[in-house]
Symmetry: C2
Subunit: 339 residues, 2 copies
């Protein structure tokens, strides 16, 4: 059986299509008896209103798009959970796309979503994304856009982030207060704003505490395989700078790669070298030694981003002006066994 | 600026709407010069065809729906990755919904997807799903449905699973071969077919190896918080049956909860008690001791499920008959340090 039409329901009951339509919408000029008959038959036939036709009239798709770099990632999974929770409340659906950290995919996916006439778009940018023309096409379409986590500072839209620079500054200051002096940084790739900011926070914390910044202690993790990046760079730092006493890693997954290498080679954590992560993935609390890290509130970032997007969609519907917001959520240091 | 219409493009170029439409569709009875002018202006104005109107004509939404129990889960993240990869190839979009293991949500989400006229639906059922009327409404709508992982055997549609019973049977036989004799099972909740099958595989392996089945060695993990379930039941099994020498856990996350409790209380793994997981989550390879487990190919399950769904969508489009498939993917035992 295919989706039945109003016409079929009308034919089966021997009434007009208009009466069927009015009954389903609950109009008062149709008798209760007729309404009941229509609704019962519609249910029996599994009738659903044609949402394409409805959408064409209301110009609303009740759908938003989400583009994230990668799915198999504790942080983004939590972000999505927050977004779905907000969408659920409003009977909105979420189309999820994964850019795989590729600018080219991101561009194509924006086109797909705009073609689909989604009511709004949420995005965290890929590591490759250094120009932002494709984001401007979203704005040119008058489609609300909210960026989160990996954002473009210069694109005019709402943004939800943490203060990466401050979080990193606090993290490294904490290490220094615990007595560590020779602190390496395993940074993220060069384009994403959050990797830049975490690096700047590291550098400033050293300088403010009278420790000279040494660029040879900074290792770049840019193969999009955080775990292996951490493992390989751990090997490298021990070869080149065996004198270090701590490492501040750009993500927990990098830190877990470091821990794996140190565990295998008998380097004692934190006795010989302390390790501090960033993000507070679930697995950080179950590995050995348990990883100290920065709590990055993924669920809340998702929830807030979606909530702002829905507000902007509603304002647009009412032709009211939108004032863009930049929200910075709080982070905190979680002290475990690795520092 | 809002989405420009064909009318606006026609007005700006001083040509007819028909000519604009023909140009954009590449018809040969429009001059190359006109076509070029139309396409350039359309690009400049960020024109996109109204997909609602296109959909109304073609009756295709180029969108599929996916309902999974939970997102923050290594296995399902990998499934989604497989699904997105197949959808990407075909320019299909995927609406992702999370049932939170609740039947009520699952029902509502099916209604939302059917209302949206998705071209097909992929589902892994919630732990609460014991009756399947809501799945029948998908079939009554003539919307292709593929179930994977947590399926309903009696619903007539294609299915992609592993052979959970065989995988569990092999796992427990492996433990017995390694000399373990007093093997507890931390099983999943009572409704999901995969939890039932893993339990049956455990039972049969004991029986086939002449070890009497003892129901007091089976602990149920049904709080949808696998990690805590594993931790709490580990405490319980040590109180009630300190004589056990191995535990076969229904998921890696349950196993990691067990390992945490044993590490904290100084129970040596695998010397005193061996632990075997199920699923091969990434974190299983980085915890200490590294967890032996069953490799469950999430990415491949997602890829195959999506590929079958797209085949069925195409057959339906051509009014060709669909023959449902039940695919069982191979699993293997990954031996690490915990057994």
């Amino acid at each position: 059986m295919n989706n039945p039409t109003l016409k079929e329901i009308a034919a089966q009951l021997g009434i007009s299509i208009t009466t069927v339509s009015k009954s389903l919408k609950g109009y008062s000029d149709v008798s209760e008896k007729t309404k009941k008959a229509v609704i019962e038959l519609a249910q029996k036939l599994h009738y659903t209103p044609n949402s394409f036709a409805v959408n064409l009239r209301t110009k609303e798709s009740k759908t938003i798009g989400l583009i994230i770099p990668t799915l198999v990632h504790d942080f983004f999974s939590n972000v999505i959970r927050g977004i779905l929770e907000e969408a659920e409340k409003r009977d909105y659906l979420v189309i999820i796309l994964q850019s795989n950290e590729k600018l080219e995919f991101e561009k194509k996916q924006i086109d797909l979503l705009l073609n689909k006439r989604v009511d709004g778009i949420l995005m965290s940018l890929s590591n490759e994304t250094g120009d932002f023309e494709h984001l401007k096409s979203i704005i040119a379409h008058n489609t609300p856009l909210v960026l989160f986590d990996k954002i473009a500072k210069l694109v005019s839209c709402s943004k939800v982030t943490i203060n990466d620079k401050k979080a990193a500054y606090d993290a490294v200051s904490y290490l220094i207060k615990r007595g560590y002096k020779k602190i390496a940084h395993f940074r993220g790739s060069y384009l994403p704003q959050n990797a830049i900011d975490r690096f700047l926070g590291y550098k400033k914390a050293l300088e403010d505490n009278g420790i000279p910044y040494d660029s040879s202690l900074v290792f770049v993790c840019d193969n999009n395989t955080d775990f292996e990046d951490g493992y390989e760079n751990a090997k490298k730092v021990i070869d080149e700078h065996p004198e270090i006493d701590a490492i501040f890693a750009v993500t927990d997954l990098v830190a877990i790669g470091i821990i794996k290498y140190f565990n295998e080679t008998g380097i004692s954590i934190p006795k010989q070298i302390a390790v501090l992560g960033f993000s507070n993935w679930f697995m950080s609390s179950v590995i050995s030694p348990k990883l100290s890290t920065i709590d990055q509130p993924g669920f809340e970032i998702g929830r807030r981003s979606a909530s702002i997007l829905f507000d902007e969609i509603n304002l647009k519907k009412k032709n009211l002006p939108v004032i863009f917001q930049s929200i910075e959520l709080e982070t905190s240091i979680i002290e475990r066994e690795s520092t």
